[in-house]
């Protein structure tokens, strides 16, 4: 049923296909009174935009967002905010044979099995292009969260294919084509990508994203825990195959005496929990990691079948990201912001009048450590 809405109270309904006239979303539930214009949203779209380096798809999309509703005289009115992003670089090439075969690793086969028909133009609805709308909605959430709660969201790439990317400093993230918090290894990453592109192949990536300043108390057990909703949002991002919070899979080999973060009057002494205990935020940094699979659209020929079930081979040309993970960082930040935003509203619905003395529990572990 109709799974194109994210969130319960800050609801983002996403629409559009890769090569239709436009993509966009409707945000329902944004609090009134927030100063908002396209200029607040555009910078986040620009971070995700294709065509900005040789390591990503060469499709040229300006990704100019328009606010169609919900804002009056520069402020949100509390009514739905419709955001529209026209598609400008759709190519009218023949997709005929794509309709008849299924690219390995791609959503082709699954969409066909589900809907019985599909829009093959540029991946249609399964294209990562739809994430632009998510990023736009996330920019609205980020602005509100920053103004009201001082929340910030920062992501970076921590592995590109088999290359681990050491965390050096957040200030480097915007200064390279990979969203790496690193300067030293950038040449190596570039060489790796150049070789990959030449080989017509693709690679995976690991992204880390963190939220700071998130109020304690967010999350709705038993099932809609904060970490559960983060996992839902992140695993729902194209190409993601794994999600970790805090220690993640490393917790399997930890002892309880190591994993459980001690509390001190100055704050938690560590953050193996990744900012969530019992499904509820603790006020520490939220720490999330994503595994992003290699792009399915590659130039190397691969075995497949056609719609009649007969064997065939597929090789995919055209404009594709050789590592979709590269542009995933701003999307992951947006998704984390959307989940936090939704839970801030959920929390104040039920527990808006809870008051208690709050000990100062800062995040003790520095980012990237």
């Amino acid at each position: 049923m109709s799974g194109s809405t994210l969130g319960e109270l800050f609801r983002v309904t996403n629409f559009g296909e890769s090569h239709g006239p436009a993509i966009g979303c409707v945000i329902d539930g944004c609090p009134p009174g927030l100063e908002l214009s396209e200029a607040d949203i555009q910078p986040e779209l620009d971070r995700r935009r294709p065509g900005t380096s040789r390591h990503v798809t060469q499709r040229q999309e300006a990704d100019r967002v328009q606010i169609l509703s919900g804002v009056y005289e520069g402020r949100t009115t509390g009514t739905p905010i419709a955001l529209l992003i026209p598609n400008t670089d759709q190519r009218s090439k023949d997709y005929g044979n794509l309709l008849d075969t299924f690219r390995p690793g791609h959503a082709d086969y699954a969409y066909w099995r589900k809907y019985g028909l599909r829009d093959p133009r540029g991946g249609g609805r399964s294209s990562a292009r739809t994430t632009a709308s998510t990023v736009a909605a996330g920019a609205v959430a980020r602005k509100w969260l920053k103004e009201r709660h001082g929340c910030t969201f920062t992501g970076w790439m921590s592995a590109l294919g088999e290359i681990e990317i050491p965390f050096e400093d957040e200030r480097h993230i915007g200064a390279n084509d990979f969203f790496a918090a690193n300067t030293r290894d950038i040449p190596r990453l570039e060489a790796y990508m150049d070789a990959l592109r030449k080989a017509g192949d693709s690679c995976g990536a690991r992204i880390e994203v963190r939220a700071r300043g998130v109020p304690a108390g967010l999350g709705e057990p038993l099932y809609d825990r904060l970490d559960a909703d983060i996992a839902h949002a992140m695993m729902g991002l194209n190409a993601v195959k794994g999600v970790e919070i805090g220690a993640g899979f490393a917790c399997v080999a930890q002892r309880g005496s190591e994993h459980g973060d001690e509390l001190t009057p100055e704050g938690f002494a560590s953050n193996h929990a990744g900012g969530v205990l019992g499904g509820i935020s603790t006020g520490q940094e939220i720490v999330v990691r994503l595994a992003i699979k290699p792009t399915s659209s590659i130039r190397i020929a691969r075995a497949s079948i056609d719609r009649a079930g007969q064997p065939t081979t597929v090789e995919t040309h055209g404009r594709h990201d050789p590592c979709v993970g590269i542009r995933a960082t701003p999307i992951a930040e947006a998704l984390l912001a959307l989940v936090v935003m939704d839970h801030v509203l959920r929390q104040r619905a039920q527990c808006g009048d809870v008051e208690l003395p709050i000990p100062p529990i800062p995040a003790a572990r520095p980012a990237g450590a």
Copy 2:
């Protein structure tokens, strides 16, 4: 807001605390006509039940389930099915000091920050005891899915602490205390747990769970993809810190030419996707892995603060699982079944009349390989 319901169409609303009079759930949306009695549910509860070996909590709970509604003359009527599980082994000990301090790694602090007050008896609502209701609801979904679609759900422990547990054969799973698909390493696991218990510490675990016979076409992009909802359900399980589908985090270091599963007339040639492409099931086995953190309740003294923010130490005695991962396997199976069930109903709502020639795409990779 009220996060105690799992699912959109097959809705499970969970209630109850560890030491209240009863726990239970209400299932709304179960199709009519399913033969159902307590005898269909009880065996799954028995698999999860505490007190069955020395490696788990010694709390004695019969976990006898009662069906209060929704069944007439042995068949579901399509109306809500209320399931009740009385608590019988609540201990009336003094929880006074637990109310004043926060156990490291436990939900104590987060619950207090959220609600301003909390039920401390046995962990209250944050206790893993609440998962018994999830297992009971899962048993209903499993029965329907098996009868209508031949779906089966099988999980096992693949790592206990730092010990990897090789997959040998599924038939071993029920024959040891660890849900291990293994016989050779059981003595080693037992010795490991005995030492851990003696040390008063706890350890993590990794669980793998698979679904077979899941129809192709399940999952609701853009956001409510099948894998996204699986991640939501699994990360919402107590103590889970990581979720993987298919290749999971290993996909980071894979190439596209390796990861993308080729299709042949006889089926997929591999299953790195874990049965989900573009957020939609392909008909292959669904493959999920969970990282479960070490139990927070340990006998070793740890630093904490009290509600006034003053330093203190906490050590937890009483009846606790030294590895909550041991009993997690039937819960993870139940959660996977609940997600699949929900998506079968969602799929037939929107696409119930889609018909297409379906090539036989079996799961090519044997379980555990």
Copy 3:
């Protein structure tokens, strides 16, 4: 899909059949910190209870409610509140022929067409007995709304069959068997009911229910307006065939210059709106009226068909309310309270930090005028 939950944030999930072991509900989303015990709920159940006069069904149900969860040391914890009401007076008579025919005006035929099977015992799920759980949940909402906002909910019968019942004084409501705000006409109502019962027939009723002290600003346009959700709740009550807000159907013949309530510094000058403008509460009294159809279960023989489509006749004996409207008043009050409660939480989620100078706009029209 699973329509047994009322509300978005204060969610009531209702379960149980007329002659099963128990009925009940789970309230998810109740704010923490509310003092609550069975004694707060029982009086409302007692108002709705059967068997209290000769004008209602003679079924004897104590309707004793038990709180199973969500309350610790006399206060709500913010976790689900499960309420259980055992059925004690189920009769084990043979319902065989009821399964084969369809009572005119009753839900028999519709349930059978929907689910393919049904629980015929006392109407099964379609019995008005299920409203006891609604009343119990409403009592929790009423307590919170009264303590936090001073809201009160009062209903009365304004017509019994063709007899209009003039409003005299609210204090009379509890002093007669009809929930009439009247003393003078009670003997007439009693005689009317006695004759009706003797004739084996049934009659309809009109109920008016009002909420006072409801904060301004409740309601979520475009679709989930406060009046829309009130209409949903009320039309969802068994036997209701019409719902009016404020002037209701009388507005058809009004002019705009008459209908639009003028505002003065002392408040609204009238209340044709019934407390809702643009789908949002104004702070005035909420005024709702319900049309309740005559009971379908009557002793008079009526034409019907059996499951094979063959003609037959049906007459219904047993214990039935000759006017289901008589016991509808406390249910309607509960439903109105549940809708208001839900919208208070929804309002504070999105607009919880809106502050504005609020002119004193009291309800100008006295109750019943």
Copy 4:
């Protein structure tokens, strides 16, 4: 919370204000494979369009709808269908004083109390202009329902102010400016409206809307009954103050022996139920009536207050419908279609595989009788 979405499975998310750049909606959950183009939607918009006679607002809006997504090569793909309707006749006049006062009967005061600020241009979000998007979405539902189930939806005006409009023949509905199923009384209606317009006043109306061919079995007790959801949708339409199903308020004075519709092998013998029993459709005609209040925007001066609470007077000039009920008929049809569509999908989710011998139960009462 975010009430701009109608429906659970066929979800319509509405956005836009009266004088913003555009209005529109996103339909999520439409089954794939439906042939659809703008030409299927435009005729319904044209029926609701302003400026078509002297009896409605003179605002000139072409109301040209564009499909932005969800359709590929003329067929729905199962992904969200975004519909955009540009606003073309916004007037840039000064709304300054409207911001400072509250028009009696209008949503001004309530919106201000809820959101703290509001878009005053043409009523902003509270304008009936937003219903154009509802009508557009309804056209999609109507097409699918007609093709798959043969459902049709027909409405007419049955009273204009104090004038009852006898039902003569459905074929007249499109032949006059009032959606009246009548020819004889049209001159009288025109004279009435001319006098009203001259007086600067407005009047109410009563609309009847019916659905034929609706499958039996739709509706989700306990709370989301079909009639409950119809009441929600209808009462959520601007200016509606009352909703009736079947006999409606007339049922109050009926006896059970009269109201309960008898069944015969040839079908129901009457339709006092209005096609819904126990909250579930019976296969008979669905019969709904709406009370629509007089337009609040009138030229007659009325008392009000300003935002400081000081007394003032308001008279509203500009382009307004003197009877909003006139254009309500196609909107009510659309809403009824949307509710039925949603419940068809809900029904097949839970009960999609119920099979039973179905006696032919036609609608016995002819339309309008």
